[in-house]
Amino acid sequence: MDAYPNEGQLDHEGVVTGNVEVARDCWRMEIRCPELARTAKSGQFVMLRCRQGMDPLLSRAFSICDLLYEDGEPVGIVVLQLIIGVGTQALADRQLGEPIGLLGPLGHPYGLGTPDEHLVMVAGGIGAAPFALVARALRERSPTQRVTYLVGGRNADYVYLTDEIAELGCDVQVATDDGSRGHHGYVTQLLEPLLEPGVRVIACGPNPMFKSLAVVIRAAKERGLQIPCQVSTEESMPCGFGACAGCVVPVVSNAHPDGFRFAKSCVEGPVFDVEAIRWDLMRSIH
């Protein structure tokens, strides 16, 4: 049976305390919600009501990008959202002071290993969102751990959080598909030269990025180098807490005749071991 991660009251009413466009089509929303912020961990997500009422009907999933603090206590969350459709557009139109319904914190957080490891965060596009909080959590745990942030995007407009994460004392390297910023090519190409014993990888981004990441990790394994690597999938989620079975991803299962089963990514994930997913069966939604 799946390890069901969520506990306690998930439904909250927050207040929008910030909502600004910080990059092209990308909005940073601040939501005051102390009960949720207190227990939020890096890699977890929330489900946001796009508007008051029933249109759009379903909530939308967003990674917890960062926390808001007051007197050193977490009192709210930050989400970074790329506008792609009706729901995200409605969220961008939200006004300051408006109440906003939300569920969370949801899902399994990243496993962050130990401070003696070199932790490499690999982000593609808006998949950058969870890493501000990850970097903060790592710095709270150890001011000296080696942490690298590899971030890729279509072009320079779609590369996020480089300054914020650099400020936390992490090495930052950028790749863009068109070469407009940093390495001309894929972010996974930046990872290959870093791989050595003691490296741990956590990643978030589109499925094609995960697929090439899986290839890189497997190739290292074949050379005798086992790199722990977790990915956070973004299959679309109608409910976010395990009620609907709409968010499934194919995972390896030797107990099943075809060698796989479908796992609800909202509760068994969204963070999975890269080797747990059957990438050959994973569709590309991006």
Partner: protein, 313 residues
Amino acid sequence: MSDAAPSLAVRLGALELRNPVLTASGTYGLGYEFARLADLGAIGGVVGKTVTMQERLGNPPPRTFETAGGMLNSIGLMNPGWDGFVRDVLPRVLDLPCPFVLNVAGESEEDFIELARRAGQLDGVAGLELNLSCPNVAGGLDFSSSPEAAGRIVSRALAVCDLPVFAKLSPNVGDIVPIAQACEAAGATALSLINTFLGTAIDWRKRKSIFSRGVAGVSGPSIKPMALLIVMRVSAAVGIPVIGIGGIATARDVLEYMVAGAAAVQVGTACFLDPRLPEKIAHELRELLAEEGVDRIDELTGAVHRQQEQVER
């Protein structure tokens, strides 16, 4: 406030419920998962995800698509199968602070009967809902498309199972009334109306359906007017209780269904917005009835028909 708070209790045959709000099959996990997130002691009951004889992995994604005021789904009855259910799910649903209704579907008539026989041997299950109407598996709709087939399955299930039996019917039929009447004649305890409407979604750029099977089921607030009419028509034509299902998201929706003829309701898609929505609806029902001066919620059931009779007289 008077201490004689309005009574929300309702009855489905021999089964008494604290209030008329149940969760609908397939929209509240396998049934046990949310006991730590919601006060299930405040709702009428949980109907589990459909259980089939063999484990089913379900359909490949994409499985859902949002529509105006609703959604399409093609989950494909993903469930652990009978043995997995008994091993992993049953012990947990029996600990719930509310009745658990087991929903089953067979791939054949014989499967249905065998599942009913096994269900009848379980202790602690409050009722059996026969899913005669799943649109997302091959042949799933055949069982509620004719009065003969539906009636036969219900009567054979009742012969091997002492539980209250609910027949869950499809709206995707020419005339649902004779099918409902056949289930009543066969001895069904109640009718669960309705399962999802057939629909699809098209990706015009790819020039194909979003769904691998081409069809999916429509649910959510947008189907409420159609489902409400079905409940009104069927409840006028049968004497057994009807459980209203389709687009319920508020306490007002529940009361509308009850006035239209429902004895109880199931909340489906709206559960996806908040695991505590069913319990919030139950609380709000009490407030609405108190405001309106209604002492017992079950007095509302079928009120529209009594009005209608007066108009006709």
